[in-house]
Structures are given as C-alpha cells and as structure tokens.
Amino acid sequence: MAKGVMIIDGQRVNFDGEKNVLAVIRKAGIEMPTFCYHSDLSTYGACRMCIVEDERGKIDASCSLEPRDGMVIKTNSARLLKHRRTILELMLASHDCNCTTCEKSGNCRLQELAHQFGVRHVRFQDTREPAQLDTSSPAVVRNPNKCILCGDCVRICEELQGVNIIDFVGRGSQARVAPAFGRMLSETKCVSCGQCAAVCPTGAITVKNEIGEAWRAIHDPNLRVVVEIAPAVRVAVGEAFGIPAGENVLDRLVTALKLMGVDEVYDTNFGADITTITEASEFLERLQNGGPFPMFTSCCPAWVKYLENENPKYLKNISTCKSPMEHFAAVLRDKYAAKDAEDGKRTYLIAIMPCTAKKMEAARDEFKTDGRPDVDLVLTTREVIDMIKENGIQLQELELESPDLPFGMASGAAAIYGVTGGVAEAVLRHCVPDKSKNALREIAALGIRGDEARKETVVHIGDAELKIAVVHGLINARKLLKEMDEGKTFFHLVEVMTCHGGCVGGAGQPYGLNSVKLVRGEGLHKIDNASMFKRAERNPVVTQLLAEMDEEKAHHLLHVSYVKE
C-alpha cells in the first residue's frame, strides 16, 4: 500500500494505505460529499460529487483517484463548488422532489446536500413521466421516481448479500434500477433484508411503513395491544433522541410505549431464552444422532428465505426452532387464548424489530394460528422512533419502567442475540457442561465475537470436538455453502446473520455507518455483562414454562420445518 504526503487545500496530509484520495481527504477532516461511495462497497464513481481539482485545473472524482506522494489537490475551489451545485441541480431535476411527504424526509442525503450546498432553486425542468411504485415486497417499497442511480443498492445486494435482486437496466437517460425482466420485487428471490433501503441515499427504496396499522390497533378498544421488543432495538432507539448508540434504553422505551397506549410491553429476549434452550437441545440431540450437520441457526428470516430460494438442499440443516420473535408469539398466543376468550378482547401482538425481513417472516403461513399471524404487526426500530416523535414524547426525559412480567425477564445470553456470534455463544453456554464464570469467559474468548466476516472455533464438549462457524452478510454464507459443497469445510454449528454485524445492523435500525453498528453490538455485550443471569436455562419463567409443556405442544409451539415435502 502506498505511503506518502499529499497537500490538500494547502494542508500537508500523510497517507498510509488509504485506498483512495477521498479517504485521505476525510482523514484530513474535510467531509467530502458523496452519494455513490461507501467504504464497504466497490468504487463506482458515478455521482461526481467528490470531485477535486489538481494543480493543472484537472478535475477528477476523488473516490476513483489513488493517492500519490506529492499530490496537490483542492477540494473546494470555486469551480468545484459550482459544479457540485450543478450536479445537485441535475439530480433534483430528475428526482421526485415532494420532500415533505417523503418517507426519507429528514434522512435523505440528497435533501441534506442540496441544503448544505445552498441549492434553493432548480434551473432545469423535470420532464420525466412518473414511474409506477413497486409495493409488492413485504419489506420495502421501491419508488423509481426518487432514484438518483448511485447504484448503492445494486452493489450492496450483489457485494454484501450476493443475491443480485436489483441491477441497472436500460442505458443512458433510460437507465434505471430494477429487478430483471421488469419483475416486481415479490416475483424475485429477494430475501427482504432491506439493506438496499438502508443504503439508499434518497427515498427511492424505503422500508414499508406500517405505522398507520399500529395506531389503528392501539386506538382500537377491542384489542389488547401487546408489544415485544427485540434485543438490538434497545441499543439503537436512543440514537434518535440524542442518546449515544449502544446505550440500553429498553426501560425508557417501555415507558414511551405505555404512554402511547400499548397495553403490555414484553421482551423478545424472553423468546430468545426459549430459542436458546430449544436450539441447544436440538443440537445435542443431533450430536447424539450424528447430524445432520452443520446445524444452521434459524433466527434470521432472510437467511432462511435465502436457503429456500437458492439452496433448498440445506433446509434440513436449519434448526427446527422458531425464531425468538415467533417463539415469543407462539407462547403468548397459547397463554392468552383463555384470557382473550374471558374478556372478549383480542390480543394484537406488535413486534418491534431492527429488521425488515421480520415483516416477511410474520406473514409466513408457518407462523399462523387459525389462519391469523401470531405476530400481527412488525414495526422497525425507525417506525417506532417516528411514532414516539409523533406523540411528542421526549424519550431521553422519560422515567424508567421495566417490561411487564412474566414475559419481561431474560438472560444476558438473550441480549447478545442481536450481535453477530451471539446466538452461537448463547447456545454454547447452554451446551457446555461447565457452568462456572471462567467457562463463560472461555466461551467469550473463543473468537466468535467481533466484526470479521467469518469466525471459526473449536469447542470440546465431553469427548466431542465441535467445529463452530459464525458468518454475517449473505455473501459470506454463500461462500461457506460453496466450500461445504466442495467438501472443503465441515462444521457442526453455523450461525448465520444476513446483515453485517448481526441484527444491530438490521435495515430497520436508524441509518448509520458500520462504526455505529459496532457500538450497538458492544452495548448488547454490556447488557449481557450486567445481567442477573447469563444462561437461558437460568430464566425461571422460561424453565417453568418449558417444564409444563408436553412434547406435542412443545413440538407445535416451538418447532417449525422449512423443508418442502
């Protein structure tokens, strides 16, 4: 990697291995505007916002320039500023500028930069015919009228998820982003991970907004509105209210939801404890029966969908456990059936999730009782933030309130479900016979925590030497499957999370960079550290509940098979 000194706006800046001039400029403390540049994705150089000028007056995109020793550039000459404004105007002239009613308003990069660069008037006319919206996906909405063709969604779908659902079609002025063959998203193998929406700088791809449904339910006197809150939500909600990322605001969120009119607020972590015990039992069972291996974790619905779409032969490897959200829902439905009958109210379950795929999971036939979904509605972290704000609630000022009992109690192992490696760790805590504090520390040090794309470890349980892998990002799962196909690798247990960093990086979370995701993950580990008990089986409510359940009921409530007959 190249090393040297550049002169940026008259300032000496050392560089050492930065892959492009843009990175060096940002290192110098200058926030270069970009639409199409993301350090995780390949360089595209399309938006031309990050242009810089060299000594000879030559203009180039800094994202596509390699740093050279002795390079002298200007980042904000009169020409560059003029060109950036013109580029913004050109974008706005082929963009649906109904900002006030846009889902992305306030979080739109185009809006932000147009404002930042003082674009108050667009001198070009937009002569495009309006294009149809694609609302067919359970997770996201595509509005081509707002697309600026930065290609971020195309690249994240291909490079991080490896599913290639959307791509550029058409050329020149006819170029647009769409699924192949003019299909709707519902007609594709989209796994609903929503990362396209998370990365989209404008409102061209947004997460499906179901806030209206939530308010209708909350304000319906015939409904008992029950909320479950996923682990990753509590370390991210605060970000919208000036609370640092990673800080656990579960108790404030409970207060807010109660203020909003929710009847009962529970914790998905309770469901996660059920998942841990069920999944660990299944794993031990498989060890006894000799497979099938690897056992894949089943909590991530986008991952399950991915296998169904792309590699169904591995469906039998997926744990038959439902996800924590659905575990919680199944148990709640079972427990509240009598209650509903008694007071004539229907329990309406809202799950607050960091995830867009959960919207898809909730609608699956496998998770319906008498034709009705066990989870009535999935709201993303961002949707809940919007609802809190709509009610004028200042989350940061609220008093604390714990989740309701009995389903509000959970182990530390449940909290780390929201971060990559967490599910595997929770299961291992249950499987390893040594229940000492040092055993917990050993597990934590196995190397399955952290941001690496694939983490591998070996665990000894009794005589058995168990090979464990943890991957996040579907592209990494795909690589692992390929190696398995080729017989190059073997694992007993593999945790797969579709999103980078695990659920903390879900597409339903507040918009943020990778660094924020890491901080949220650390927040979940802190919750684990501070928890009263670290293992799922130490959750008294869960153990009692499972003990009371006969085998048939357990099978019905806790297990699911995705294998097509």
């Binding site: 150089g45 399309a46 938006c47 031309r48 596509s64 060109h83 580029i87 058409g170 020149g172 170029a175």
Partner: protein
Amino acid sequence: MSRLSIRTRSQAQVLVDTMYAGMERRIAASPSGLCPIDITLSFLNLCHAQSCGKCTPCRIGLGKLSALLKQVLDGEATMESLDRIKLTAQNIVDSADCAIGFNAAQLVLNGMAGFEDDFREHILHHQCLASHRNSVPCITLCPAGVDVPGYISLIAHGRPADAVRLIRKDNPFPTACAYICEHPCETRCRRSMVDDPINIRGLKKFAVDQAGDVPQPACAEPTGKRVAIIGGGPSGLSAAYYLQLMGHSTTVFEKRKQLGGMLRYGIPSYRFPREKLDAEIASILSTGVEVKTDVDIGTEITMEQIKEEYDAVYIAIGAHTDRKAGLPGEDSGHVTSAVEMLRGIGDYQMPDFTGQKVVVIGGGNVAMDVVRSAVRLGAEKVTCVYRRRQADMTALPEEVEGALAEGVELLTMMAPVRIEADEDGNAVALWVKPQLSGAFDKGGRPSPVDSDLPEIRIPADLIIMAIGQGIESRHFEESGITVKRGNIMAGDSAQIGDEKIFAGGDCVTGPATAIRAIAAGKVAAANIDEFLGFRHEISTDVVLPAPTINSVKQRGRINLTEREASERKLDFEDVEQSMTCLQADMESSRCLHCDYFGFGNFRGGRETKW
C-alpha cells in the same frame, strides 16, 4: 456454461453497425447551410444515446442540455439560457467520468463559441441564420460554381462537347480540371448518402477526352477598354478569357517562357500531359488575348507604367518562390527546391538522376510531384521524409499511394535536423530526428515532437526541399500594394485598396488549388467589368436535356484506373486511364440530380448566367 466464449456480433449489432456506416456517409454528405444549433442538438442527442447512464453529469446533464438547446430552437429561450447552457456543458466537460460525457459537452461548448450569432438570432429574433441557398452540394462546393449536374446529364446524353461548353461558362479550364482538380465538388455529394460520391472529375475527364477541340464562343462587342493581366497561370488566363468574352482587350504579362503557371511549372506531365495543357491554353488565347512572355514586372516594365497604360490590372502572379527550412547545411551543393526542379521540367529541361539517391522533404502534393518525377528521372532510390504521420500528409491519398506503388520510400515521423556536406560542400546525407505524435494543433493535426530515439543519417546524392512556396511580392509592395505575411491583400471582390487593381489566386491565398485560382480569375473578371462600367453577362446557349430519374439502389462508384506502376514510372506519360463509354454511362447514371430533385429545383436548380 463455458468459462469464456467467442464474441460474435448479434444480428442486431450487425444491423446497428450498418446504420452507423450509413450515418457516417450521411454526415459526410451533410449539406452546408444547415442550422448549426439544430445540428448541434442532433449530435448531442446521438451522444446522449451513447451514454451508459452511470454518471450524473452525462446521464442527466446531456438530457438537460438537449432540452435547453431545444428551447433555443423553439424560440423559448432567453439570453440567460445561454449562461445555463454554458454552465451545464462546462460542468459535464469538467466532471464527467469518460469521453462519452465530456466530449459531447465540449461539442456544445465549441458550438456556442463558434455559432454565437446563430444563438443570439434564435433567442432575440426567433429566427435562424441558416439559408436555403447552397442546395446543390457539388455546385456549392466548387469554388467556380461549375454546373456539375448539368454537364453530367450532358455526358449521359452523349453530348461531351456541350458538357465542355457548359463548364466553360464558369471555368475556362475544363481539361486542366479534368486531369488535376482536387474535386471539392465530390466531398459532400448527396449520392454519398446512398453509397459513394459520384466520380465527378472522372466524368469530366471522359467529357474533355471525348469532346476534342471545342470552339470558343464569340466575344462581345469590343469596349475599347484594356486590361493588364500579370501572370499567365490559371487565374490570370481565366480572368483574361472572361474579359475577352466581355469585349475587353487583355494583355497577359508572363515572367516565364511559357504560359500555364503552376499547371506547367508545378504539375508534372504524367499527371497532366503537356499537349493537353497547350491545347487548352491555345483555346483560351483564341478569344484574342495578347501575350507577353519572358517579361518581369519591375525590371522590364513597372507597375506604374502598366497602371498608366491600362484601364485595369489583375495581379495573379502565383506563388513560385521556394521556402527555406532553415536547416544547417541547406546552402550546400546538391540541395535544391521543388519549385526549381519542377520549373526546369516544365520547360523540358529534364535532369538526369540515374543512379542517385534522392531525398525529398515534405508531405504535400508538391512533394509527391517531386518524388514521382525523381523516380521517372532515373533515381536509384527516392525517399520522402515527413515529420508527421502518413495520415497527416496534405497530399491527396491517391498521390501518396501512387508514389508508394512506384517504389518511393516514405519515412514518416522524421524531422530534418541538418544537411551533412562533403569537403566540396556538396550534400551527402540528411540527418533526421525521429518524432512522436503530440498534442493537436489549431488545424486539428497532431504536432510532431522529438522522440527519445537517436538521430538517423539518410545518405543522399540530392536533397529536394518541398516545404511550401512563397510569392515574389517585393516590387508590388514597393509600388504601394499591401502585402501581409507574404500574401497580397485583396477582398472577396478581388479588388485591393487601389480600385484599379485587382488580385487573386495563389498570390492572395498562398499556395492553393487550380480551381480556386480559376474562381478568383472569374470573380476578378466580373468585378473588373463592373469597374469599367459594364455589366456583361456570361452565359451559354447549351440547352440541358430533361431530367431522368436514376436508380437509387446502392451501387459501386467507378474509379479511374492507373497504368501499371512498373511501366508508368519509366515515362512522363499520363498515368491515369480514362473511363470507357460504358463506365461513363454507368457513373453518370448514379447522379441523383440535386438540381431537379430536392430543394434544388425550387430556384431552377442553377445559375444560368453571371
């Protein structure tokens, strides 16, 4: 699926490529006089269609630019729109990622600089400066405005003598032009839109060869006015010819032994046989021109005397002095100039190059005339040294090809550095420095720059400089005629400051073509006639046949063939073979007759007199 596959063109791509080829021909045949903004907009739209759609400036910007230009065309733009167009185009030029974008926007910027008046006219007055004149491309592009479709139809009807008469209405040198004209008439021939331009010069050659001696028309009543013509080349003789027809009395003063100017002293006889030239000059003189050869103006007779003696003067002295390259050793023996050598040949003084190595410096038509003549004079080896690429040579490609076929060595990308001489002071070698093709100059050709290769020595027994000519203007300058950068200053009317004096041809334009010199003579004749207080009209009594509708099916152009190189390089006889009757029939039937079809016939298709 295979890992790699051989790329084959799809059916669609094959078709698109054919369309491109068709469009290329169409662009080549684009008529002059179109609205430059409309053309810019059309090109811009083509460029936008080539955009891949990746980058903002190109994908969106070119579209917005197109919309803005459309507003200008539709008269909906304001002067502010111009700023917006400039801003947008400059943005794309500066920030686009590849040539599809920046080159397209540069086109618009260039257009704005070049057609500023057109933009203003559209915006302020909602009208276009483009005109409906110039609707017959061959006539428009002929500097003399010769009625090309007219004589092609006469050839098709088997009337070559009438064809010659019709040509003479605008050009008294049909034979010279049939042999050596650079035929600008062919460059935008509308037939190119179908297949290839008509071989106009080839047809004219057929006509003059078939016609034999065609008598000249009678001159008008004598006016008693006397006009002095200084210079007996194509321009001077053309002026003399038309002035005679108008009834004036002309005297041609020629410095050399014989008339013809560069037609004789520049163009070797293998391109234009002497007997043809002599016959053409004789025919022109048959109108009564008085000729004084071997007269040098300034020594034997002064401008003052001529001005006193004559009612008007036309200066058409051509460009006959050689230019110096400024090379060290250029004054050595065995170094000569193209002008000097060709002048000798013009007067039948054939040097003998037998066994010699001849090195010629230059890349124009004159250089080609020199190298091909040197081959015919027996040189053992003839090398043409040129500092640019072959594609940059100003010589006609067929001349270069002809020279190569006759065994001339072409050394391109070599800049002469110095001439090495022996102790007797005679050149023995030319040293050259290998060059690189560099940045484009104003004329659109890449400039040569020194490469990192060492100098090369080219042994030579004779070095001939063919790097351009100048004019002998000293005497004229002394007599009060304005000379700028070596050229006599004259307006489009050929008149110079002194209203009695007119000038034209190479001495005004610098070394150019015969047809431009002829056109200048024609213009001078008309304006001298006017100056003398007359308005004689030049016309012809040739009646054109009714138009025939020719086939527009794609068909090959009939090119003239040449004698075998090994044979022709041994003599100074005509190199080129004429068309046969069948060939002339076929070629003339390709003419689309823009004088009858299309907008041409709106104004009757032609100027019948001037």
